[in-house]
């Protein structure tokens, strides 16, 4: 068996997997019948449907010829890692992680961390320029979100504000 469209093959597998998982999960709830649908009825229906769609896509991916094999191509690990890392770092710094005993550092610290980490995802990194950008964003966010829109944020580290 030769995969003729890599993208379709794996998206088909993804749909199949998710569909089966949802359908299997749905059977743990009361399924009921048409006239009295239980909480599992509709998810079961959709899960089976998704699994069928997925299998058709996978089947076509190994049978229908494509010109270039529809390669998925290289994964962009660098941007993927840094963007998500920036996001998680921001979350941890903003709200803290009580379960691990990490205190909340607040919005401003979070913004600096996020800007620096996410900038590493790009092709060029100039610490000075990133620092300026982070400062602009920190002041801008403070003015826009805290001062103008009055959203509730821990702005400063919790050990300063108490």
């Amino acid at each position: 068996m030769k995969i003729k469209s890599q993208k379709d093959f794996f998206s088909g597998l993804m749909f199949m997997g998710v569909g089966v998982a949802f359908a299997w999960g749905a059977t743990t709830y009361n399924v009921g019948n048409g006239a009295r649908m239980g909480p599992g009825y509709f998810p079961l229906l959709l899960g089976v449907l998704l699994a069928i769609i997925g299998s058709v896509i996978t089947f076509k991916a190994v049978t229908v010829e494509t010109q270039d094999g529809d390669k998925i191509g290289k994964w962009a690990w660098k941007p993927l890692f840094f963007i998500l890392a920036a996001n998680f770092a921001f979350g941890v710094l903003l709200g803290g992680l009580p379960s691990l005993g990490i205190p909340a550092m607040g919005l401003i610290v979070g913004i600096y961390a996020l800007t620096f980490i996410s900038s590493l995802a790009g092709n060029e990194f100039n610490a000075k320029a990133v620092f300026v950008l982070a400062t602009v964003l920190a002041i801008g966010s403070y003015v826009a979100f805290v001062w103008a829109l009055k959203l509730q944020f821990p702005v400063w580290p919790s050990f300063i504000t108490g």
Partner: protein, 503 residues
Amino acid sequence: MDLINNLSLGFGVAFTFQNLIYCFIGCLLGTLIGVLPGIGPVATIAMLLPATYALPPVAALIMLAGIYYGAQYGGSTTAILVNLPGESSSVVTVIDGYQMARKGRAGPALAAAGLGSFFAGCVGTLILAAFAPPLTEVAFKFGPAEYFSLMVLGLIGAVVLASGSLLKAVGMIVLGLLMGLVGTDVNSGVARFSFDIPELTDGIGFVTIAMGVFGYGEIIANLSRPDDEREVFTAKVEGLFPTKEDFKRMIPAVLRGTALGAALGILPGGGALLAAFAAYTVEKKTKLKPGEVPFGQGNIRGVAAPESANNAGSQTSFIPLLTLGIPPNAVMALMVGAMTIHNIQPGPQVMTSNPELFWGLIASMWIGNAMLIILNLPLIGIWIKLLTVPYRWLFPSIVLFCAVGVYSTNNNTFDIWMVGIFGLIGYIFHKLGTEPAPLLLGFILGPMMEENLRRALLLSRGDWSVFVTRPLSAGLLAAAALLLIIVLLPAVKNKREEAFVED
């Protein structure tokens, strides 16, 4: 005249100082993100949803709507000057617009896009005002079976008209529907697929999906591309005004584009993108007048028609949302989210229960279009400057706004973890070549579909034939089936694939 009365009520609402300001902010932001490639209205509206909590509902919706149609204006600027679509709906404008700019006719191209958009926007708003009330009447006759069938039609229409691979798009819809079911079942109180995480019993946040998949996913995908050389025509754009000759060619193209765009906007799955594609195809089919520049080499009709069409389409795509409560595209799905945040159940009752909101929103669109033409033509210099902002400044800001936005929806860091996960999922979708827009539509419609299916089957005592024995419902399902059959016809199928290759 009811229409006049209603519109005057609407203008009364829209002309208050506060609403004018929010309309202006929406249009300004819309133009901004339209001009900047790499960020679209879906991500922007998702980011700003939490910020609208504090606003009155009318102001919030006016602003969010302004972002959508404002983006259609801004997108053309980038298309013409940089050879990059600032907005997905200006993909076809790039073809002739950029060629015009290279020949030193950037000014007339921008003017054609702006004036065409303005005209189309005005017509689109009028159509919205005229067609919404009668459609609402029809909507009141709908029972659960009809609503279910309508949603099926809407979802099928969405993929048939506006995506690449049909099967994968259907798969994404079903995936979206399933994700919409996560959380507490309203009927039995059972928490479904929540893995005992308390935050998940409320369901997956709509904003987290939209921002993760459309915000983070897109950024990662953009960064993985090598920096393309941008040639920006920042040198003075001279002679903004088109010549008499230009006008003569432009006007029929604008009219055709507007008509086509308005019609396609109403259809499920329609909206700005499809309208622009269709309008360009039609223009290309018409005969060239003697002395006219061929298409692809800077024909002004190739700019005027798709730009009018995408604006008309973006206005009329509000019709299914406001009358039936069914979003025809991803942006409208976000508007449903915005309305529910403000405790407004989208649907036919909005017009009677919230007339100020309904007519105020429509009137604001006309005002917004007037603001946009001023923002985009005389002030074009500012936007051109913006185009020189490098992406490496832009993307950290977008990441920040997304993270701040999701946090502020519930003041809970859990949403930040979720948006990160959806960012990863969004990138996987991108890699696998599956379009995320149908997922968002399915996600919004999931709970509604389940509820209507449940009610319909309850009334019919479990008999599935109710969907085909009730004439309205049968008609809607037949239309959905017809759409599928048409697309699967070999002749149409090839053409369709051709059209989306340019994507």
